[in-house]
């Protein structure tokens, strides 16, 4: 159910013209890396990192300056040889799990992974019960 949005939505995609910072975007905010493999890895990572100033968008989908700065960081680190997982951990160390759209298995997220397994078991049980009785 998609809904029209409020000012918060505006801030995510389009900057209000008042109180706008005027510095140019970071060098690699809108510039791709030369090496296509590196750029692909960076892009994949950026699509799973959260823009902290937006209302639920990845940094790959946002024009917010901070998202641009984060993209810059991701790209220069990938170019410098860091692995995407290292960069993700670096960000999680600073902002917590909130910054990553890819939940890792941990003390706070284990139900997210346990419940699908439970669902598989329940689905299997339902199907077995129904058909073993009837066979």
């Amino acid at each position: 159910m998609t809904r029209p949005a409020l000012a918060a939505f505006c801030l995510a995609f389009a900057m209000p013209l008042a109180a706008q910072q005027t510095m140019p975007p970071a060098p690699f905010a809108y510039r791709q890396l030369e090496d296509p493999a590196q750029e692909a890895a960076a892009q994949e990572l950026m699509e799973t990192l959260r823009c902290l100033k937006c209302q639920s968008q990845s940094i790959a989908d946002s024009d917010a300056p901070m998202a641009g700065d984060m993209r810059h960081q991701v790209r220069i680190r990938v170019a410098a040889g860091e692995s995407p997982d290292e960069i993700r951990s670096w960000l999680i160390q600073r902002y917590g799990d909130y910054v990553s759209y890819k939940p890792a298995v941990s003390a706070t997220t284990w139900p997210l992974f346990a419940i699908p397994l439970l669902l598989i078991a329940v689905a299997g049980a339902i199907l077995l019960r129904r058909f073993r009785k009837r066979a």
Binding site: A5, C10, F13, Q55, S58, P116, I120, A123
Partner: protein, 651 residues
């Protein structure tokens, strides 16, 4: 004057809903027909008329930009083009809530007017249930979200509508979505009515089916339209993000799809009674939960409405009463629903049970992922759950479902053997494996897109197999509907996989006259000019795009500045070919004079939405088929009754 008329109509409609509710429940208890029972249908019909009138008044107020009404002053502007003034009626919380109750009222009126196939008692119970739910939402509107509230002093000028919503997509997306979303209330009321009167029968399923189909078709169109709108409007080419509000529209769709199939089984084979009732309740419950999540502000989303915990509490109470009540009724009464006919594992019913279980599992996953951040926040921990979770975990259940979807329609009812359809199964399996092998040899794409592509191709062929050996001219329309809808799923799947795997992106900062390339396209920046619109000014880039050696096409992406409210948006430009779309966006100019250009080449991305439309078309064919069959049966029954009467008269 107009606002007061609209408000008065709304109060009257609410009163009629109350009458509908009371009369319905009294009639239920009294047993045989009473005077009160005779009022139920007329009450529902007049209620529908009144609430539509009320909505029409609100639309009128927006059309003339009556700035003495608070809602118009905060959401409209006199310079807005008329079409956006009108669609702005539902571009806000109160207006869209009024749209919600209007659809509910119209749905109730329509069943009251048209539905004659159920025993009168069950109809009364159904209309009573519809009345209860409507009453709750009328109360919400009238007591906490009055759309007709006046300002003590009329505003000098309106605050305007969010520029991102000033788009033709806004005209289409919410109304179709609501027709679907809220149309499912009919299924809910039917399920409650059937539980109350213990009438879970094939007749009940046959009666409910067209209503579910109609709501489901609109919901499919609404979601498809919303996805396409987000794709071209937001400037990044994304078409689904598992955002909480997007999920809030998907969950009812998943439940409704399962309900559709379940009701079909109940109608033709008198099996899956409990499933059908459960799904009927769940589908609309998901709609209501979705409304709550979006309007209460407890979840962060780009789509979220006014953050107002007070309104959220009101809706939560309504939810507690309606969903809690229905689920309680289910727990108490479902035991009395006798088990229907039996069937074997390898049978069409078996395949449909599998389908139900898988769809319900996916629904549970989406619900879990959407609500999980809410749960952790109660412990002061913040997590984000997004595509990297939903895609793979959903696929665990979706892939087996697609496999069964390919062969299920070929199975016979009640009992069948897999080896009877051995050839078809082998063909489909061979296609899937061949696609898997070829694609992984020729390209390097991730596992999920690979599976999606392979199963999409397999399903695309398999969906037509049920027509094999049939006289096509005499195949029922409903069967055509099934084939087209399943084919639509395959098409959409191929589109999604292709977009995910083969999209090429190019960010370029170029000067006028320079070239950028993306995939097989060559794009030249011919020039950049200022342009102006009714309530905006923009910087427009003129691009000349050429596919390979083909002819050059002109694309004009814009970067727009609105002033009421002040905001900047990007308008993307699309060049569509049979094999995909070029997506172009112009950004800011860097200090050295070069323009930021964002280009994407998305092969076969349009299949996603064509697939969605095909699914809806399939549903429409099935709906028409069923309605025509039903009319034919009624005419036949009427003629038989007439003949019998004649014979008796002669005797």
């Amino acid at each position: 004057m107009i606002a007061e008329l609209g408000l008065a109509a709304l109060w009257l409609a609410a009163a009629l809903a109350a009458l509908q509710m009371i009369a319905g429940f009294l009639a239920l208890r009294a047993g045989n027909a009473s005077e009160l029972a005779a009022l139920i249908r007329p009450a529902a019909i007049v209620q529908g008329v009144l609430v539509t009138f009320s909505f029409a008044m609100l639309v009128w107020l927006f059309a003339i930009t009556d700035l003495s009404v608070k809602l118009v002053a905060s959401n409209s502007h006199s310079l807005k083009p008329l079409v956006f003034k009108l669609s702005g009626t539902w571009g806000n919380h109160e207006g869209s809530m009024l749209l919600w109750v209007m659809v509910m009222g119209l749905a109730g009126a329509l069943i009251a007017l048209v539905e004659r196939r159920l025993p009168e008692r069950t109809m009364n119970a159904t209309l009573a249930a519809q009345g209860v739910v409507s009453l709750g939402f009328y109360a919400f509107l009238l007591l906490s979200s009055n759309p007709f509230e006046r300002l003590p002093v009329p505003a000098a000028e309106g605050m305007g509508l969010n520029p991102l919503l000033q788009d033709i997509g806004l005209a289409f997306h919410p109304p179709t979505l609501y027709l679907g979303y809220v149309g499912l209330s009919v299924a809910f009321s039917f399920a409650v009515g059937a539980l109350l009167t213990r009438q879970v029968t094939p007749d009940f399923a046959r009666a409910m089916r067209p209503w579910v189909l109609a709501a489901w078709i609109m919901l499919t169109i609404g979601i498809t339209a919303g996805s396409y709108w987000a794709y071209y409007e937001l400037g990044w080419g994304g078409w689904w993000f598992w955002d909480p509000v997007e999920n809030a529209s998907l969950m009812p769709w998943l439940a409704a799809t399962a309900l559709l199939h379940s009701a079909s089984v109940l109608a033709s084979r008198d099996a899956l009674r409990t499933w059908t009732i459960m799904l009927g309740v769940v589908a609309f419950s998901m709609s209501m939960v979705g409304t709550f999540l979006v309007r209460s502000g407890i979840l962060t989303s780009v789509h979220a409405f006014a953050v107002d915990p007070e309104r959220g509490t009101f809706i939560l109470v309504l939810l507690g009463i309606f969903i809690g009540g229905a689920l309680l009724l289910f727990a108490l009464r479902a035991n009395t629903i006798s088990e229907g006919e039996r069937f074997a594992l390898a049978s069409r019913e078996g395949a449909l049970v599998f389908n139900n279980v898988m769809l319900s599992a996916i629904l549970a996953i989406v619900l879990l992922g959407t609500l999980y951040p809410l749960l952790t926040e109660a412990f002061d921990v913040r997590v984000s759950v997004g595509p990297p979770y939903f895609n793979p975990v959903g696929a665990i259940f979706a892939i087996p479902m697609f496999a069964v979807m390919a062969v299920g329609p070929l199975l016979r009812w009640r009992e069948d053997r897999i080896d009877r359809i051995g050839k078809e199964v082998a063909l489909t399996a061979a296609l899937v494996v061949a696609a898997l092998v070829l694609t992984s040899l020729l390209t390097e794409i991730g596992l999920l897109p690979l599976l999606g592509l392979a199963f999409g191709i397999g399903l695309a062929v398999a969906s037509w197999l049920p027509l094999r050996g049939r006289n096509l001219a005499r195949t029922p329309l409903a069967t055509w509907g099934m084939v087209v809808a399943h084919f639509g799923i395959a098409v959409a799947l191929i589109g999604m996989a292709s977009e995910s795997a083969f999209t090429k992106e190019r960010l370029a900062a170029i000067e006028q006259g320079d070239t950028a390339t993306v995939g097989p396209w060559t794009v030249v920046l011919e020039g950049v000019e200022p342009v102006a619109g009714p309530n905006w000014t923009a910087v427009q880039a003129r691009l000349s795009a050429r596919y390979g050696d083909g002819e050059a096409r002109e694309l004009t992406p814009q970067s727009r500045n609105f002033w009421a409210p002040p905001q900047q948006t990007t308008e993307s430009a699309l060049a569509t070919r049979w094999n995909g779309q070029l997506y172009a966006v112009v950004g800011d100019r860097s200090p050295d004079g070069r323009w930021q250009l964002r280009l994407w080449w998305k092969p076969f991305v349009t299949l996603i939405w064509y697939g969605g439309l095909l699914i809806a078309l399939g549903g429409l064919l099935a709906l028409i088929g069923r309605v025509l069959t039903d009319l034919r049966h009624r005419r036949l029954a009427a003629r038989i009754a007439e003949r019998r009467a004649d014979r008796e008269a002669l005797a």
